[in-house]
């Protein structure tokens, strides 16, 4: 399992209820189901992935987070997970608001557009960045709203969203992000992992 998922799973307390938004093929869900809490459900847009999840015995709803999150009642889950999907939404702000409304805690991870390799691509090669966490070309990327770790922290601060844990991930190494090292982490991290509360 990828390091990102391990960090997410470690952030979740035993037997709490969890909604995994954009759960993909259910890899993280299955791990959480078997090791942390069986009160986990998923929302996934791809039919093929939903089929794989059902095969794994996971409860998943086929749907589009931007349209279907609104049907979930407020405070209905202890945790809501959104792994590397925020940038693919037409309206990420609306999705974040829904996550905060539905979950007591939201766990959001983002591929960091401030990572030096990304900047290097654009600065020296003059092309849209293609990296390990951003594998698509400009013409086929699902990503509509890329942001950097710093962008996301600013976004939360401006909206008074309580960011109570911020982690950076590079080459499977985890470190904490704080206001003193934000610029540095924004340059050196591939991925940001954030725990949010209203």
């Amino acid at each position: 399992m990828k390091e990102e998922f391990k960090i997410i799973a470690n952030s979740i307390q035993k037997n709490k209820s969890i909604l995994d938004v954009g759960c993909g093929d259910g890899e993280l869900m299955k791990f959480i189901y078997e090791n942390i809490s069986n009160k986990i459900r998923g929302l996934e847009i791809s039919k093929d992935n939903v089929q794989i999840c059902i095969q794994k015995g996971l409860t998943v709803i086929e749907g589009n987070a931007e349209m279907d999150l609104q049907q979930f009642p407020s405070n209905s889950f202890d945790y809501v997970i959104l792994s590397q999907t925020l940038q693919a939404f037409l309206n990420p702000e609306k999705v974040i608001n829904d996550l905060l409304r539905i979950g007591k805690t939201s766990i959001v991870t983002i591929p960091n557009f401030g990572y030096w390799k990304v900047r290097f691509n654009l600065l020296f090669k003059g092309t849209m960045p293609v990296t390990k966490t951003l594998p698509n070309e400009w013409y086929n990327t699902p990503n509509l709203h890329m942001c950097s770790i710093k962008d996301f922290v600013n976004f939360c601060n401006k909206r008074k969203i309580h960011l109570f844990k911020s982690l950076a991930l590079t080459n499977n190494k985890v470190s904490s992000i704080n206001k003193f090292n934000l610029n540095f982490k924004n340059l050196t991290s591939e991925l940001g992992i954030f725990l949010l509360e209203k």
Binding site: V50, I54, Q55, K56, G57, V60, Q71, F72, P73
Partner: protein, 373 residues
């Protein structure tokens, strides 16, 4: 009527007050079972049939000699694996395969009940079938499932008995029959009633049958079970056993011939009055009616785990109507999964060999059973 003699029947003594106000008792409920009930009686699946289905969901139907309507789904190693599960399927009341219906004999007159049969609802059908749990000594079913009107019965079952099935799989259905669907049912009923042999519903007394009307009803309904794309691909404008059009009203096109055939074989196995009563029951189906339109409240106390399935090309019970059930269940934080299966086969997809559908169904059922053990 000899062919109906070997049908399994349970005579239900317990009175049942129907929604229309009439109370029935000592009425027959015809059923069939597949597989074996295990010692702990935790492997029972109740399957509900659709409008023109019956209790013969698998194997050979002894009356029609055709394969059961859900043969792709029920059987050894199939999605509802009869090596593992005990599958029960009953003919709905109002039906014509041995359960209490318009072609049952009225004990007083010795004639068929016909149009004097009380108007029934989906709720009545489910309450009648619930007696089978008692009959088999099953305190809780493992699963209730069915498509179309069968799916409506699944929803009604969970609404009536929130803790009597571990899982529920309503397929290609709706919690409230739409205006379009009522319209199609009305078209079918009017076709039957317009047949001069219908005789205000008393055709049996004169040994007649409104076969033309029933056949037209079936033809119209059959179109709604398919998709435009499916029809186009299968028939297009292909001609029936001729090179060119004949400038007449004979069946020039294959689609015409196909529909005529579907109509003609249907009248051999189905009773016209049953068709009126069952379509009416579907029209009256509106689960949230008693809860001010709030479907969530219908399922408020449910402990059942749901898996809802719809099909992309089903325009009779479209995905959006199936989704309304998902939304209502989500709103009360019920355990619900949902999948829309890609298929060009229209509403009929749930009866056909659609691998994605059958595999999902099997995976969900088997995984849920594993977790129970």
């Amino acid at each position: 009527m000899e062919k109906y003699n070997n049908i399994k029947k349970l005579i239900i003594n317990k009175p049942l007050k129907l929604d229309c106000g009439v109370t029935i008792s000592d009425y027959p409920l015809a059923y069939e079972t597949y597989g074996n009930l295990n010692r702990s009686k935790d492997n029972a699946i109740m399957v509900f049939h659709a409008l023109t289905g019956d209790q013969f969901a698998s194997g050979k139907n002894p009356v029609t000699n055709k394969d059961g309507w859900w043969s792709y789904v029920i059987g050894p190693n199939k999605a509802l694996d009869t090596n593992k599960y005990f599958v029960i399927c009953a003919n709905v009341i109002g039906g014509c395969m041995g359960s209490y219906g318009p072609n049952s004999i009225d004990q007083n007159s010795g004639n068929k009940i016909g149009i004097n049969f009380p108007v029934i609802t989906i709720n009545d059908m489910v309450n009648a079938q619930f007696n089978l749990l008692n009959h088999f000594g099953i305190s809780k079913l493992f699963c209730v499932t069915g498509g179309s009107m069968g799916g409506m019965q699944v929803l009604q079952f969970v609404a009536n008995f929130p803790d009597k099935s571990k899982i529920a799989i309503p397929i290609a259905c709706s919690a409230s029959h739409s205006a379009q669907n009522i319209a199609f049912n009305e078209l079918g009923r009017q076709a039957i009633m317009a047949d001069e042999n219908w005789k205000n519903g008393n055709y049996e007394l004169e040994n007649l049958s409104p076969a033309k009307g029933l056949s037209v009803a079936r033809m119209a309904a059959h179109i709604t079970y398919l998709s435009k794309k499916g029809l186009q691909e299968k028939f297009g404008r292909k001609l029936q056993e001729r090179d060119k059009i004949k400038f007449g009203f004979d069946a020039d096109f294959q689609i015409e011939s196909y529909l005529r055939y579907q109509g003609s074989i249907f009248v051999d196995r189905f009773d016209a009055n049953s068709y009126l009563y069952i379509t009416r029951a579907m029209d009256y189906f509106d689960l949230s009616k008693n809860y001010n339109g709030d479907l969530s409240k219908v399922f408020k106390n449910t402990k059942t785990k749901f898996f809802i399935i719809s099909f992309t090309s089903d325009w009779l019970y479209p995905t959006v109507e199936n989704r309304e059930i998902v939304i209502a269940l989500n709103a009360i934080n019920a355990d619900v999964g949902f999948l829309e299966i890609k298929s060009d086969k229209g509403h009929d997809s749930f009866l056909l060999d659609v691998p994605d559908f059958i595999n999902s169904l099997k995976n969900f059922v088997d995984n849920s059973y594993k977790k129970q053990l």
